[in-house]
Every structure is written in structure tokens, then in C-alpha cells.
């Protein structure tokens, strides 16, 4: 009888029972690094503005104080990612590769709807187990487009969107201030304010504001556009003067000569 072949793709759930038993015994499961996160996007008169905070958490600890959540998809398209950091990173990288090949195949600039379809069909196939919650924005031949994509594979097309744990705080800013035909400065300011609403009112979001402005034929990636959480200058100098610590042997350690005992037998 031939041995049962393991599927080469997809998830393996073999260890689920074992993990449950371990938790029952008192072990704690390892936490995936999540981007607690506030990510936003809006459409303004000339294109798209995307924004994100820069805090990555592992449980209640900040794993990365300045991570990049705005991922490159194509020269005219960027994607903000919330949820499991590894999932957003790898999913956007994969679709970015697929888009590059697709663009070469068709001889045309990638369209936002193409990226959206690739992402949603991939995530739907994995039934939500890939925890990627994305804000996709770009400018193609048909104009500026903004989508949200949930881990289970549903998408919404809207003029302004927020995702992540800080999305409610950020949405309050958009719902009170967004209107059609915003200028570039207004758009950037609104995105910055929305992200800061998330940073200061949501525990899962923090640190700095990244902004990305996408217009026809041009992208401005404004890394750390605002840094509202700079560490204040330390009040004192905490260096110790040389000689503070006494030590007994100032000379470097001497080599021991090989005499004691027999050498290890290393012959095969």
C-alpha cells in the first residue's frame, strides 16, 4: 500500500489537538506578531493618500517601534496591512510579484482592480486563516481607486476607509471632515490626523505616522511624516567615569599551555 501523500500546499492542522492539550496543561501559546494598527486611505482631487501608524505588537509588548506597514505592490499602487504582520508582508510581496509578471505579460500598467481580485481570491481560498486586513490604493488608467480587503476575502470599494484596531478612532476623523474634492494638503493633513487619532486613542497603535501620496504617474512615500512620540532628551548624562569599577587583574588573560591530561582521541 502506498504511503498517504501529504498535500504540498495549504495549512496543516496536525498539531491542533496537541496544542490544545498543552494549553490545558498550562503552557501558553506563542503570540504571532500583529500590527495592532491604524491604517487609512482616502481619495482626494488628484489621487489617493494612504496612511499608517508604525507599531508592531507581540501580545502586549511592542515588538517593533517603527515598522513599515505601507507595502509596495506596483509603481502605481501601495497597500497598507493590518492583522498578522507576517501574513500581510508575505501576501503583499506575493501579489506584487504576480502583478509584475502580469504587467509584463499584458504590456500594460497594472490596474488596482487586478490587485484587488488577486488578493481577495487568494485570501478567500484560505478561508480567513491568513490574517491579512488590507487597504489597497492606487492610480491606474481608469483613475484613482481605493479598496478594503478583509481576511476572509470580502472587499469594499469606498472613497475613504480605515482598518485595524484604531479604525474606529480614525473613522471618526474622516466621517466628520471628508468631502469630495479635497486638496492634496487637506488630504495629507486629514490622514495624519486620522492616524494620530488611532495612535493616541488605541493601545494597539502608536509611534509614528507614515503617509503615501499616489497621483497619476507619481508616488510620494513620506516615511515618518509625523513623529509625535519622540523620546524626550534624557535629563542627565548616565555615563560612568573610567575607573568607577575596580577590578583586580588589569592584565589580559594568559593562554594556558597544553600539558595536563591526555589529548582527546579524535581518530575515527
Amino acid at each position: 500500500m502506498a504511503p498517504l501523500l501529504e498535500p504540498s500546499t495549504g495549512f496543516k492542522f496536525d498539531n491542533v489537538k496537541r496544542n490544545q492539550q498543552l494549553v490545558h496543561k498550562g503552557h501558553s501559546l506563542p503570540h504571532a506578531t500583529k500590527t495592532g494598527t491604524t491604517i487609512v486611505g482616502l481619495i482626494f482631487s488628484d489621487g489617493i493618500v494612504l496612511g499608517a501608524d508604525t507599531r508592531a505588537t507581540a501580545g502586549s509588548i511592542v515588538a517593533d517601534k517603527n515598522c513599515e506597514k505601507i507595502h509596495f505592490l506596483a509603481p502605481n499602487m501601495y497597500c497598507c496591512g493590518a492583522g498578522t504582520a507576517a501574513d500581510t508582508e508575505f501576501t503583499t510581496n506575493m501579489v506584487s510579484s504576480q502583478l509584475a509578471l502580469h504587467s509584463l505579460n499584458t504590456g500594460r500598467e497594472s490596474r488596482v482592480a487586478t490587485a484587488m481580485t488577486m488578493l481577495k481570491q487568494y485570501l478567500f481560498r484560505y478561508q480567513g486563516h491568513i490574517g491579512a486586513y488590507l487597504v489597497l490604493g492606487g492610480y491606474d488608467v481608469t483613475g484613482p481607486h481605493l479598496y478594503t480587503i478583509h481576511a476572509h476575502g470580502s472587499t469594499d470599494k469606498l472613497p475613504y476607509v480605515t482598518m485595524g484596531s484604531g479604525s474606529l478612532a480614525a473613522m471618526s476623523v474622516f466621517e466628520s471632515r471628508w468631502r469630495a474634492g479635497l486638496s492634496r494638503e487637506e488630504g495629507i493633513e486629514m490622514v495624519k490626523d486620522a492616524i494620530e487619532a488611532g495612535i493616541f486613542n488605541d493601545l494597539g497603535s502608536g509611534s509614528n505616522v507614515d503617509v503615501c501620496v499616489i497621483t497619476s504617474g507619481n508616488v510620494e512615500y513620506l516615511r515618518n511624516y509625523a513623529r509625535p512620540n519622540e523620546r524626550v532628551a534624557k535629563e542627565q548624562a548616565y555615563k560612568f567615569a573610567p575607573g568607577t569599577t575596580e577590578f583586580v587583574v588589569p592584565k589580559p588573560a594568559t593562554q594556558h599551555s597544553e600539558e595536563e591530561g591526555t589529548a582527546m582521541d579524535v581518530s575515527a
Binding site: K120, Q127, G128, T148, H150, H152, S154, D156, L158, L168
Partner: protein, 212 residues
């Protein structure tokens, strides 16, 4: 039958479709929820799967979008493969096959409505289990339970197009007021042989009803 998984986006929903001589009127609310948060307050749940065939989606947003995309793909190919336009029955059959074969994995309640040369106007309903029901009018979604009485009382066969539009508008509006998972604006589509007319009824223009 699959339940919505935690965190999955739900089309809480009120959807309905009514048949009249020469066409159909489909209507829906515009609310999509994740738990208690409204992820999209202006959703379009009336999805075109072919030129004169629309579906109303309720249940899981991801599941219904995926299923509708697959059916739209098959219908796009149908004309080239069969030499004639697909009928609403064909569309409904495709939906049924997907919904029934995958009943344990999907959470989708769909109403298919449209116009074709063979039958004229038709309305089909496919609830959660994947059964198919051809009806003169159909209701679906969590908000539909609140308006069965109203609809049973006020529906008449052979209503005109305008009467159907009023009927759908009134019914969906009543459901939206009573169902927490339904709300926003009312989206309507009137599908006839000649064209598809999309209508939007915003909150301030909802039909009059007792609001306390």
C-alpha cells in the same frame, strides 16, 4: 450549514425582488457589519452577474462575493459557448450548484432576478441550504423576517413597474427601521428588456412611517 466565523464580515441585510410584466425590481439596504461595527454603510448588495441578470446578496460578504464572481465568469462565457444569451434560470441553476455542493462551507442567502427572452421576468430565491424556489416575489436577509406580514398583505400579482418600486421601497424601509443589521440607504435596480435603471433612496427620503 456554515455559521459566520468570528470576525467575518456579514451582510446583515434586507433584500428583496419583485416580478412585474416586462421586468423585475430588486432592492436592498446598504449595511455591512463586522460584529457591531458597520464596515461599509453604503454597500451595493445588488450585484450584476450578466447584462439583465442581477443577484441580491445576504450572509457572508466574502462567500457571496466569491460565488457571484464565479457565476458572472460562467455567464460571461455562456454566450460564446452556447450561441445565445443565458436565461435567469441558467444563472439561478449555477448559483444553486455552488451553494448546494458547498453548503457546509458557505453562508450565503441569494436572490436572483432578471429578464430574458425565454421566460421574460423571473425571480428565484436560494436560501442557506442551497434549495431553489421560483416565486413572484422573494425576501431575504435578517431584516426580511420583520416584513413578511406587510409583504403578504400588500403584494398583488400583475402590479405595474411603479407600484413594484413603491412596494420594494416601503418594505425595505420598514425592515431597516426594525433590524439592527440593516440600514443606510435603499438601493434599487429596475431590470427590463431595454435597460437597467439604478435608483438610490437616501435616509432623508425614506417613506413615511411611525418613528416615535
Amino acid at each position: 450549514m456554515a455559521q459566520l466565523k468570528p470576525g467575518e464580515v456579514s451582510l446583515g441585510t434586507t433584500i428583496m425582488a419583485v416580478q412585474f410584466e416586462g421586468g423585475v425590481v430588486v432592492g436592498a439596504d446598504s449595511r455591512t457589519t463586522t460584529g457591531t461595527y458597520i464596515a461599509n454603510r453604503v454597500t451595493d448588495k445588488l450585484t450584476k452577474v450578466h447584462d439583465r441578470i442581477y443577484c441580491c446578496r445576504s450572509g457572508s460578504a466574502a462567500d457571496t462575493q466569491a460565488v457571484a464572481d464565479i457565476v458572472a465568469y460562467h455567464l460571461e462565457l455562456y454566450t460564446a459557448q452556447h450561441g445565445k444569451e443565458p436565461t435567469v434560470k441558467v444563472a439561478a441553476s449555477l448559483f444553486q450548484q455552488l451553494c448546494y455542493e458547498n453548503k457546509n462551507r458557505l453562508s450565503a442567502g441569494i436572490i436572483i432576478a432578471g429578464w430574458d427572452k425565454v421566460e421574460g421576468s423571473s425571480v428565484y430565491e436560494i436560501p442557506l441550504g442551497g434549495s431553489i424556489h421560483k416565486q413572484p416575489f422573494a425576501l431575504g436577509g435578517s431584516g426580511s423576517v420583520f416584513i413578511y406580514g406587510y409583504c403578504d398583505k400588500n403584494f398583488q400579482l400583475n402590479m405595474s413597474k411603479e407600484e413594484c418600486i413603491e412596494f420594494v421601497k416601503n418594505s425595505v424601509s420598514l425592515a431597516m427601521t426594525r433590524d439592527g443589521s440593516s440600514g443606510g440607504v435603499i438601493r434599487l435596480a429596475v431590470i427590463t428588456e431595454d435597460n437597467v435603471e439604478r435608483l438610490l433612496v437616501t435616509g432623508d427620503k425614506l417613506p413615511e412611517q411611525y418613528l416615535g
